[in-house]
């Protein structure tokens, strides 16, 4: 029974993962990816990892909402009213994907996998809490600080204000001498200014 549910969820995760790159609508692509994550979260719940499984659902719902907003903002024709195919090095990518899949599968099938299932009397959520705030506290706190740094970095990167002026004007540092050329390298012409090229359509 557990096996059937796990297999169904995994097949769903793989199918929705595949749909991400096959649908025309960007919103559908984002939420397909979310469904793939939810299915993996479901596997977690079935395989007695409830906290991680449910937290994956929560986190991915928020992340994919943000993802969908970015998709609609940056892609032309986000609703997929025109069929779209925006790919490069397609054959190479397919090859690499298939190769990775076959290679990993061969490794899985040829390896001798350990077998030591979780027992039902283990308090897995309790164990996780003790682990996070006990032996692995340093790792956990480092992750927290990393996330804080990410937040600061993301705000600075995405804001318009640069250190030397507006980002869309190409902020240039002041000269070394009064009124001199900007410090640092002199940029070549054609760094992208002339490609007013939105979404490559």
């Amino acid at each position: 029974m557990v096996n059937v549910v796990v297999i169904a969820l995994i097949l769903f995760a793989v199918w929705t993962g595949w749909r991400v790159f096959r649908v025309d609508s960007m919103v559908r692509a984002s939420f397909s990816l979310m469904l793939s994550f939810i299915a993996v979260g479901g596997v977690g719940v079935v395989l007695s990892m409830p906290y991680i499984g449910v937290a994956t659902v929560f986190m991915m719902a928020v992340e994919m909402m943000a993802m969908a907003i970015f998709m609609v903002a940056f892609m032309m024709n986000p609703a997929g009213l025109n069929p779209m195919m925006m790919v490069h090095q397609h054959k190479f990518s397919v090859g690499a994907g298939v190769l990775a899949w076959l290679g990993l599968s061969t490794a899985v099938l040829s390896a001798e996998l350990p077998s030591a299932p979780v027992t039902s009397e283990q308090r897995v959520v309790f164990d996780l809490g003790i682990e996070l705030l006990g032996p692995s506290m340093l790792i956990f706190e480092t992750a927290g600080v990393t996330l804080l740094a990410t937040m600061v970095g993301a705000v600075i990167l995405s804001s318009r204000e640069g250190r030397y002026g507006h980002a869309d004007h190409g902020s240039r540092p002041p000269g070394l001498a009064e009124g001199g050329d900007p410090a640092g390298r002199v940029p070549d012409e054609g760094g992208g200014h002339h490609h007013h090229h939105h979404g490559g359509h």
């Binding site: 449910v54 719902a61 909402m65 959520v125």
Partner: protein, 300 residues
């Protein structure tokens, strides 16, 4: 076990009718005319007698899915609330499940506005996503704070921890912040950025007939689920003297529901940009402070 699961549809059905009736009674307290207990059924019947219009080139799959998902989320959220000493879905991570339902609600509302392929619903969908995503942060802090005295993420354990004193006494700020979350989840009053009058009804602007009725039903179902969860987290859920547990839970749920409906009808909605600022500048630090104080109290 089976009868516990059966309480979910029954509670939802009664809750939806009660919420719809409160919705028609509440204006009386704010000085307008009110409708009676049958008014909600009449409005529902009117919608069912009408055509469901299909817009031009809609995202049909998501148009059908959005209300169904919203309703399902309400049902799942309600089933982690303990009816007596156990919940229909008893999980060691009950409030995380509820949190996931909250986050997925944003997606259901977004899809509802996205799918008709029309400008005003889309603006409503975007506004709602922009407001509801930052609301998730206070929501998480409130849920964690409510779990602290219980030292557990299980809703049943949280209810059990309120045998001596209800969480609303220990954490009054928590209930206030949670009401804010509830107003957002159910798209009501000051947090109803999905359906403003300035965008002709927003995400619901293109809804008609049975489709509209289903969406409104799902909103009311979510209000029921939210009220039950608030009752469990802050008012001790099924705990109480004399009466059986489920009756206490239903009474407390109705009380929270009435309060939410009343607030929804009587508080003005500010502009989305300003609300966004208020959420990040005021609600987030306040909820953080709330978590810190609750943590201190739990240790003490």
């Amino acid at each position: 076990m089976i009868w516990l699961l059966l309480t979910v549809p029954v509670t939802l059905a009664v809750g939806v009718w009660l919420a719809a009736t409160f919705d028609r009674l509440a204006p009386a307290l704010w000085g307008a005319r009110a409708g009676g207990p049958v008014a909600a059924l009449r409005d529902g019947a009117l919608l069912l007698r009408r055509q469901t219009v299909r817009t031009e080139a809609p995202d049909d799959l998501n148009r059908r899915l959005a209300p169904v998902v919203y309703l399902a989320l309400a049902a799942i959220g309600l089933s982690v609330v303990p009816v007596t000493h156990a919940a229909p879905i008893e999980s060691p991570v009950g409030i995380v499940i509820w949190g996931s339902c909250e986050a997925l609600t944003i997606i259901a509302v977004f899809l509802h506005g996205w799918s008709p392929n029309a400008p005003f619903p889309l603006i409503g969908a975007y506004r709602y996503a922009a407001i509801a995503l930052p609301v998730m942060l206070p929501s998480m802090f409130v849920l964690i704070a409510a779990a602290l005295p219980a030292e557990s993420l299980s809703v049943t354990a949280i209810v059990e921890s309120q045998r001596e004193v209800w969480n609303v006494v220990r954490q009054p700020l928590g209930l206030a912040l949670f009401l804010l979350v509830g107003l957002t989840l159910t798209q009501r009053g000051p947090f109803d950025f999905a359906d403003g009058a300035d965008i002709a009804g927003g995400t619901s602007a293109e809804d008609s007939g049975a489709g509209r009725a289903l969406w409104q039903l799902a909103r009311l179902a979510m209000l029921t689920a939210f009220s039950a969860m608030a009752a469990a987290l802050f008012l001790g859920g099924p705990l109480g003297p004399g009466l059986p547990g489920p009756v206490w839970l239903w009474l407390k749920t109705a009380a929270i529901m009435a309060l939410t409906v009343l607030l929804g009808h009587g508080i003005a909605r500010t502009t989305p940009g300003r609300m966004l600022t208020l959420l990040w500048i005021v609600a987030l630090p306040v909820s953080f402070l709330h978590l810190a104080v609750s943590g201190g109290l739990a240790l003490w």
